[in-house]
Symmetry: C2
Subunit: 297 residues, 2 copies
Amino acid sequence: MTPTIGVFDSGFGGLTVLRALVARLPHAQFAFLGDTARLPYGSKSRRTIARYAAESAQFLVHKQGAEFLVIACNTASALALDAIQAAVPVPVLGVIEPGAEAARAASRTGDVLVIATDATVQSHAYAAACRALGLRALEKACPLLVPLVEEGWTSLPDYSAAVAVPDAAQAAPAPPQVAVTSEVVRIYLAELTADAAALVLGCTHYPLLRPLLEAAVPPGMRVIDSAEAAAETAARLFGQLASERPPFEKDSEQDPSAPNHGKIRCFATDSVEKFERLGSRFLGRSVGTVELVDLGG
Amino acid sequence: MTPTIGVFDSGFGGLTVLRALVARLPHAQFAFLGDTARLPYGSKSRRTIARYAAESAQFLVHKQGAEFLVIACNTASALALDAIQAAVPVPVLGVIEPGAEAARAASRTGDVLVIATDATVQSHAYAAACRALGLRALEKACPLLVPLVEEGWTSLPDYSAAVAVPDAAQAAPAPPQVAVTSEVVRIYLAELTADAAALVLGCTHYPLLRPLLEAAVPPGMRVIDSAEAAAETAARLFGQLASERPPFEKDSEQDPSAPNHGKIRCFATDSVEKFERLGSRFLGRSVGTVELVDLGG
């Protein structure tokens, strides 16, 4: 039987991680939960986030049969990875360590910039993960970028396009909405003056801004997507763990848009309509029917 | 004994309503609750918002002895006023009707523009309240304005300055952060082409943008602050109800900054530190020590 991978986020930004996972594990089954009734985690305390995240993880493991869990949420990875690992009996992978590892591979100088939400920055989880790898991280909270992405003021209609044509932002004059987002990015990055070789996107919403960010960073600075990095690590790890089950392994001949790819079921704790409407921008295809679940609280 | 007025918001934006109340009822006692563990209400369903708001109202009435309740939150007023009134045995006033009434006084044409959060607009509560008064309302969701205010990208350091010197925005060249907010305001208002005489601020964060909004609206269009309108109505209503208690009535000789003004106690369900740090911008003075409360969930 094909194993189920549980993917968890406080909202639907983590669909960028799911999208990257599907591309690498096209035959796996996926159950995605967005805890939309209690988002955003970014403005809440560690204690509260840990409780919410543990309840969400238990839903994916005990109710959906997930055998592996990817925490596709930087805030929950930063503040609650231990609590989640203690709450469920399956392997759990966050996005912080994979992001830091990808930064090490890209950074020649040892200096890394990290942009993220307030809560992720205040946790200094990226700084700790980078330090463990011998890197120095300069972290910067960018609270306006998530609402700008959710408002759709990006240069590209969805994450799929952001991945496929990173130079499309320069192709046509930007509408005023995109010019606002470019200016916000410029203001935030202007406060990061370190001589770094890599900029880590420490929030799962940020991949939709990748073209704008690549246009704004100095020449030679690499933009590292934690969503891609986490999916890469997850595919390797889960591939090892499930090596007895051939259909689970990556099939490079498989077209992810073909109808026989792995099944995705999406769950949300509230605002199912908004999830269905905006989720496709992050997943790069329709999220289908989103099922409402009640975790209490 | 001086009566206690309970003031409730999902966050701390409602402190603009509390500030306007304190100016009109300087001797009253106030208990303010921000349900910060569960904000923002704006992205949640009516059922969830009603439950959260009723629990919050019950805390203010049963635990803090509030004899009157002001719902200083447009989303909760729009979606949960009935549920709150059913949950507590004291008079409850929302911000929607007072805002609509102030718009009627200001609008010669009968057309009114309303800017608010997504949830408030989708509820069409302002449209209904305006229709009941013979007005036509054109509603527009402006999801970026709350995060811009919380990021501090406003022309003025706090609400106090916004009220005192509405022309200060033009006094000096705007820093790039304020220019971004001005451009966002311009983009949002450009989509509102109705020949209206009044623009209603249907979110308690928006008073901090009042100078930018007044600079952006066409000449002759009045900007109506629901926070001020609700405080005006509350002072009149509560003054009548408490007319047997002279210290409760407005004393125009009283300096609200004097040490013997009415006592304010602030409570929050999470993120007390952020409340204390940002709340003063909205209240126009220090919020003091914010007490953490657990409403469950």
